[in-house]
């Protein structure tokens, strides 16, 4: 039902979702303050951020459950909000999986799944949706007879049954046991991909966001701080805040001169054209430890060790007194007191000491 001929001048139908300048305030609180987002048709995007960043409000505005104060939302090329138009939730052809699943307790599973298919749902379609989530035989069961994971899958089937243009998931895995969570993340991700539907999900779990979404949008204070592939946002944080928010980060003071940044752990090539005092941001897993290392390696003493089985986290005191963390394979085992060589292996991000975003190369040149 994508309105390709609406003549609204918007993007071609391969845009699954497009959000521009979305704003919403609740009284004095500005929950969403100018959020932009693009998701390709069939893609999966995770809205990630600390609590209060506006991700759930954004999701609810996309669903049509909240009315934006400003901005535009287009689903499948059709403007559903903005330009003076507001399409109510029931007309948006969007599927939604709620945090507490919101399954109707007075209907059985099949009735729940078929609810979005109209007054007389086609049992074949219902069965298809249930098969898609692996619960083909559960149609006659009652909601309270199912386990948490089963309920979640029914909620997903219910959202997918009417073949929506877009599926929204609000913290879908937060109510599950840790053991279940991982497996279900994968299953749900597979299901969504198989269904070929555009999906947005809100989460506060970073691992979750990065492992199942092809695109991660990190929100902060009502705006999208950075949006990109998981690798991009993780390995190339655009701002200092991004770097500290997502995963662990180590900050090494240094100097940048003509394409190279020099810090205690060596001189590293950098992409951006910076000069002057900089901070070198590197993840603990990018700090290598060994008996001997390359020429640029620095000496350090192991001051702490935490063993996690598959990896170990070492606290390394550098000659300057700064302690950095290194997270590498669990073996060989190091112990506090050991003297080691430390160097950087892997991508780093370099930011001017005064803070701010990394300038694009094109802008910096000339």
């Amino acid at each position: 039902m994508s309105d390709k001929s609406s003549g609204n001048g918007f993007a071609p139908p391969c845009v699954g979702l497009r959000v521009r300048g979305l704003k919403k305030s609740f009284g004095a609180v500005r929950a969403v303050d100018g959020a932009d987002l693009d998701v390709r048709s069939g893609g999966t995007c995770a809205l990630l951020g600390p609590s209060g960043c506006g991700k759930t409000t954004t999701l609810r505005m996309i669903a049509g459950l909240e009315r934006p104060d400003a901005g535009e939302i287009a689903v499948g090329g059709r403007v559903v909000s903005g330009e003076g138009r507001f399409v109510p939730a029931e007309e948006r052809r969007i599927g939604m999986v709620f945090q507490d699943y919101a399954l109707f307790p007075h209907m059985d599973v099949a009735a729940n799944v078929g609810y979005g298919l109209g007054r007389r749902p086609d049992p074949g379609r219902v069965r298809e949706a249930l098969d898609l989530v692996g619960l083909g035989d559960a149609g006659k069961r009652l909601v309270h007879e199912l386990s948490g994971g089963q309920q979640q899958r029914v909620a997903l089937a219910r959202a997918l049954a009417p073949t929506p243009d877009l599926v929204l998931l609000d913290e879908p895995f937060s109510n599950l046991d840790a053991s279940l969570r991982d497996r279900l993340r994968q299953e749900v991700s597979d299901i969504l991909r198989k269904a070929g539907v555009t999906a947005i999900f809100v989460t506060h779990d970073q691992e979750e966001a990065m492992s199942i979404a092809e695109q991660v949008a990190v929100m902060r204070d009502g705006q999208v701080e950075q949006c990109g592939t998981p690798e991009e946002v993780y390995l190339r944080p655009a701002t200092r805040w991004m770097a500290t928010f997502l995963g662990d980060i180590e900050v090494l003071p240094g100097d940048a001169v003509r394409g190279r940044a020099r810090c205690e752990l060596g001189s590293l090539p950098i992409e951006a054209h910076l000069d002057g005092p900089v901070d070198v941001l590197v993840r603990p897993e990018g700090i290598a430890v060994g008996v001997s290392g390359p020429a640029s390696a620095a000496s350090a003493e192991v001051v702490s060790r935490r063993f996690f089985g598959h990896d170990q986290m070492l606290g390394l005191k550098l000659r300057s007194g700064q302690v950095v963390r290194s997270r590498r394979l669990g073996y060989p085992a190091w112990h506090p007191g050991d003297h080691v060589q430390v160097w950087i292996e892997g991508p780093v991000e370099v930011l001017p000491r005064t803070g701010g975003r990394v300038p694009e190369p094109a802008a910096a040149a000339g």
Binding site: G64, Y101, A102, L103, A138, E187
Partner: protein, 551 residues
């Protein structure tokens, strides 16, 4: 993708409140969990107390089954049962029809002044049905107050309003708050994400209401409906004034002509009807899980904008309040002003008022405590025995006040003579007569307290009593208060038991009013009636704030 191997695990999902398949340990009688002995004994005591009226009927009928059957199985009796049931059904339908829109408007919409409307809409509870009936007659009779008002316009005579139509109108307007209160509480507790899910799936708001909201409200509507139906079946005063032949009149006549056996047999018919009603209600409610499927607080739903529907909505609320409140109070005030002119015994009225207050308050406390015992037994230890305890409690409410009174005369003079015709016995009668009104809200509140909280406390080493004191009690206080308030309101206006069981000289406002109306001097009854309404208003406010639910 494994399905059969899906671990049941222990996710924070729903727990069916009924018996778990506990294997061999589950006792069929008690259910999977056995209640502590003290609690069960207390519950049994409450059940026996509440069952006294029914027991009395059984004792009287015992040994005279032929005469009893003769009395019951006449065509006239059956016709009257049918008439009364018909009235009860019609009133229930009417009460639900009024309560549903009012509840929705005052909880979910942006109707201006909704809290005030909510309180006003429940005020009819304080009006005794016989007062409402005689006001109705006084105003709407062919040559009554309304006709006098309209006489200048040439209206000579209004149509007759007696019989079924009059009884239906009056009783509907008196009893709809019994549905409204639990409905509002249930609406407030609804999880809005279910409605949002339904909307997102493409259903219009009206369809969402019909297919998602209403079914979830069914237990509240059902519970309120049972109370309404039983009230109508046992009502005597209003139907007599409105000249409707009802079944309770049979019972009253039989007792009055010293035909105990026949009267008791007829009373047992009422008990049977009550049990049947209950069975239907339980079936309709089903084995559905009654608490939310996942824990966590429900976000309150944003109010629905009424727009230009605001005016019809205000009209509905205003119309109901005008008819149930403004008109009766206006007429009472008018009569009171005429009566004051002829002299007023203020001291006597104040004494009657304080007596009413005392008896009703004591009954409310007793019923509240008893309801708590029954509630804890039923909700925490569900099983046949505890369910039976709850059901038996309704017997006292389903029977007309005269049966309850005579039952206590019977047992009181034989078993507890020193307490006979003391205030204590009156309070006892009032509390067993109205006990079910308290069980509903208390049970509802208890169900909102997850058993997990109590289990956690037990795990931390507290005894069941300590757990109750420190964990459960604070959480269910609002439910207990609501239940007590309901009992208070009904006990205030009770008549037959007070006439027979109170000590001589213990006049209440209700007996004062009765005395005046028997002579037809309605004006003199106006002031006690107004004071009755005044006393009843504060607990009503409490009810609305704390919220009432049905079990």
């Amino acid at each position: 993708m494994a399905t059969a191997a899906e671990p049941a695990g222990r996710p924070p999902g729903p727990v069916a409140p009924a018996r778990r398949a506990d294997g061999g340990r589950a006792s069929w009688l008690m259910g999977a969990k056995r209640p502590p002995l003290v609690l069960f004994a207390l519950g049994l005591a409450v059940a026996i107390a509440a069952a006294l009226p029914a027991l009395y009927l059984v004792v009287v009928v015992a040994g005279e089954s032929a005469a009893a059957a003769d009395a019951v199985l006449t065509s006239r009796s059956l016709e009257l049962v049918a008439r009364s049931l018909g009235l009860a059904a019609a009133v229930t339908a009417g009460a639900v029809a009024i309560a549903v829109p009012l509840a929705w408007l005052t909880v979910r919409s942006d109707l201006p002044g909704r809290r005030a409307w909510a309180t006003l809409a429940t005020l009819p509870l304080v009006m005794p049905s016989y007062i409402a009936a005689y006001m109705f007659v006084a105003v709407l009779r062919p040559k009554g107050l309304l006709q006098e008002l309209l006489a200048p316009l040439g209206v000579q005579e209004l149509p007759q309003i007696y019989g079924f139509v009059g009884a239906w109108l009056v009783l509907t307007l008196c009893t709809y708050p019994l549905v409204l209160l639990p409905l509002r509480a249930a609406l407030r507790r609804l999880d809005p994400s279910l409605e949002e899910a339904a909307r997102v799936m493409g259903r219009s708001p009206v369809e969402v209401f019909r297919t998602v909201v209403l079914p979830q409200l069914a237990p509240a509507i059902g519970g309120g409906s049972v109370l309404v139906a039983l009230y109508v079946l046992s009502d005597f005063g209003a139907v007599a004034i409105l000249r409707f032949d009802s079944f309770t009149r049979e019972i009253y006549i039989a007792f009055g002509s010293a035909q105990r056996t026949e009267a008791a047999a007829l009373g047992m018919v009422l008990v049977v009807v009550m049990l049947v009603l209950f069975a239907i209600y339980a079936r309709v409610r089903g084995a559905r899980a009654l608490h939310r499927s996942t824990p966590g607080t429900a976000r309150p739903a944003p109010p629905v904008r009424l727009g230009r529907w605001r005016w019809p909505a205000l009209g509905l609320c205003g119309g109901v309040v005008a008819v149930t409140l403004v008109v009766p109070i206006g007429v009472l005030a008018y009569w009171a002003s005429k009566d004051v002119a002829s002299g007023l015994d203020a001291a006597a009225i104040m004494l009657a008022a304080s007596n009413s207050l005392f008896a009703a308050a004591a009954a409310a406390i007793a019923a509240g405590a008893a309801a708590l015992i029954v509630g804890v037994l039923c909700v925490r230890f569900p099983g046949y025995a505890t369910r039976a305890i709850e059901r038996v409690g309704y017997a006292g409410y389903a029977l007309p006040g005269i049966v309850v009174a005579l039952a206590l005369v019977f047992f009181g003079t034989r078993v507890a003579l020193p307490l006979y015709q003391t205030v204590a016995m009156l309070v006892f009668a009032l509390s067993i007569h109205y006990l079910p009104l308290a069980v509903g809200p208390v049970g509802g509140a208890l169900m909102q307290v997850p058993p997990r909280l109590e289990e956690a406390a037990r795990g931390l080493g507290r005894t069941p009593w300590q757990v109750f004191r420190t964990i459960t009690r604070p959480l269910v206080t609002s439910g207990v208060l609501a239940g007590a308030a309901l009992v208070f309101l009904h006990a205030l206006k009770e008549l037959p038991a007070t006439l027979l069981l109170a000590p001589i000289g213990f006049d209440t406002l209700a007996t004062d009013i009765f005395r005046q109306t028997t002579t037809g001097f309605y004006e003199a009854a106006a002031i006690p009636a107004l004071i009755l309404l005044l006393i009843a208003a504060p607990p009503l406010y409490l009810l609305n704030e704390k919220g009432v639910s049905s079990s």
